[in-house]
Amino acid sequence: MAYFIRRLAAAVPVLIGITFIAFALSVASPGDPAVELLSMNGFSQPTEEQIAVKREEMGLNDPLLAQYGHWLSKALQGDLGTSYMTKESVSGELLRRLPATLSLSLLAVLFAVLLGVPSGMLMAIRRNRLFDHIGRALALILVSIPGFWLAIMLIALWSEKLQLLPTSGYGTWKHLLMPAVVLASGTGAILMRLTRAALLEELNKDYMLTARAKGLRESFIVLRHALRNACIPLLTVIGSYFGAIVGGSVIVEVIFAVPGIGRFAMDGIFRRDYPVIQGYVVFTGLIYVLFNLATDLCYGLAHPQIRLGGKLR
């Protein structure tokens, strides 16, 4: 327990660091939120006076630290502010969009695991046989494919040609299939390689010999003995990639018109909508921290030595 409290405490400086750097970066980026706000309709050109007034009104002339402090004190009270551009509550908007991003990401992780773990296992068992070679090549190809390309190709096949899946949108499980596959492809390929490697490492361990000497069936040995040990490093990776998937879903959200937080954040970043950027960073940061904690927890569950309070190694 003390271990988790310590981990939780360590997350605080990380979150503060993330938000502060994000804030400093936003301010350092060229461009002015006041200008963006005043010219958002695409054809009015604000005068210098108008911009100056707006900047003062938005508090953009305060020193950086004061602005950040102001934001932080409000954020600590649970108030992430309102968007400069849409005037809507940032936390409300993020929460409204979170289900789309989360369901997409979770499905993607599920796909990645379904692709990566079983085929990685088979590759390890059939090491240097045909399946292994095909699997390794497939993993390399999947890692080298640009996401947008895979997305276009999937749409061209499943929507345009076969008309089995909707091109885009959000609502039913069908809408999530293709974007999740695109998000999962890279991670799935990595999991393939990782499962293969982790399992190979376990297959060569001494306890495997013990199990074989008992006269147990090979498939039983692999599943019950090796996979359980191989799962431990796998968990860590799946956890950390979940964060990456949440953060990396922007392109996929745009192509498949998924109304998730990625699109919202991208608009915020391009328009220098600081409250939106900050809100997004807090959300993804929290997800990152929470999932790391969750994987730690799973790690502990899978690893009796940690669960029972012993020290590792």
């Binding site: 990380v14 640009p146 950390s240 960073v281």
Partner: protein, 272 residues
């Protein structure tokens, strides 16, 4: 197996050589616009056809390869050096230094890459320089995590403790024991990363990072061909195949090198 490694090395050497000799081999100036010859199909005049401005695709691929490969090599190398340095310090020193570096690593892993890259592009101005820095900033953290884990493992090995007991200095231990042992995993990491970097360079040029037109590397060419892929698929397939081939070769060689240099820690490599 050995044959396939040799084939991979051969193909890679061929691509590298062709790219290096681009000025001699390219039939046309890669940036020569010819509006009369827009989107020409494959022919004996233009082996791989022409693009939307009538530029020769083969010439652009030859020149593009130089940029892709050199940039990807440089970026990956720099990322690795930074990751190696901080990862080694973190893993070797332990204690509060380790914890402090780990917090920084977490911050960089938790930051949205897009915001980071835009800020960098803005402060340094668009171009290769900011691309370099941006990729460095967004990927060193993962590297250093792996290196740190590796270093911590080696640190616990008995021979290192033995050396320390004999009164060897830190620099000596790091240089003599850590680095040679890290070499294997690093080479493998390196090869796996390169293909990815070629792809990220392409997606970043749209944010004003990296290559500015008319210079094009393969990734940019793939991106540019997007509106035309239905009617002119060769515009996307040709550079796409180049990326796939190079990254496949490099990865394959990486697998081979790993088997040679390092047998223990395959799992960390597949992380990146």
């Amino acid at each position: 197996m050995k044959m396939s490694y040799r084939a991979a090395a051969g193909l890679l050497a061929f691509v590298l050589l062709a790219s290096l000799l681009a000025p001699l081999l390219a039939p046309y100036d890669p940036n020569q616009i010819n509006m009369a010859q827009r989107l020409a199909p494959l022919s004996s005049v233009h082996w791989l056809g022409t693009d939307t401005l009538g530029r020769d695709v083969l010439s652009r691929i030859l020149y593009g390869g130089r940029v892709s490969i050199v940039l990807a090599l440089a970026v990956t190398l720099a990322t690795m050096l930074v990751g190696l340095l901080l990862g080694t310090i973190s893993g070797y020193a332990g204690g509060w230094i380790d914890e402090a570096i780990q917090i920084v690593v977490s911050i960089f892993q938790g930051l949205p890459g897009l915001a980071l890259m835009l800020a960098i592009a803005g402060t340094l101005g668009p171009g290769v320089k900011s691309l370099f820095v941006a990729l460095l900033f967004t990927s060193w953290a993962d590297f250093s995590r792996v290196v740190r884990g590796e270093v911590m493992k080696i640190r616990e090995e008995s021979y290192v403790e033995g050396t320390r007991a004999l009164g060897a200095g830190h620099v000596y231990i790091i240089g003599r024991h850590m680095l040679p042992n890290l070499l294997g995993p690093l080479i493998v990491l390196f090869t796996i990363r390169i293909g990815r970097v070629i792809l990220s360079i392409a997606s970043l040029s749209f944010l004003g990072l990296g290559l500015q037109p008319p210079a094009a590397d393969w990734g940019v060419m793939v991106n540019d061909a997007r509106p035309y892929f239905r009617s002119y698929p060769h515009l996307m397939i040709a550079p796409g195949l180049c990326i796939a081939a190079v990254s496949l070769c490099i990865n394959w060689l990486g697998d081979g090198l790993r088997d040679k240099l390092d047998t223990r820690t395959e799992k960390e490599h597949s992380l990146l």
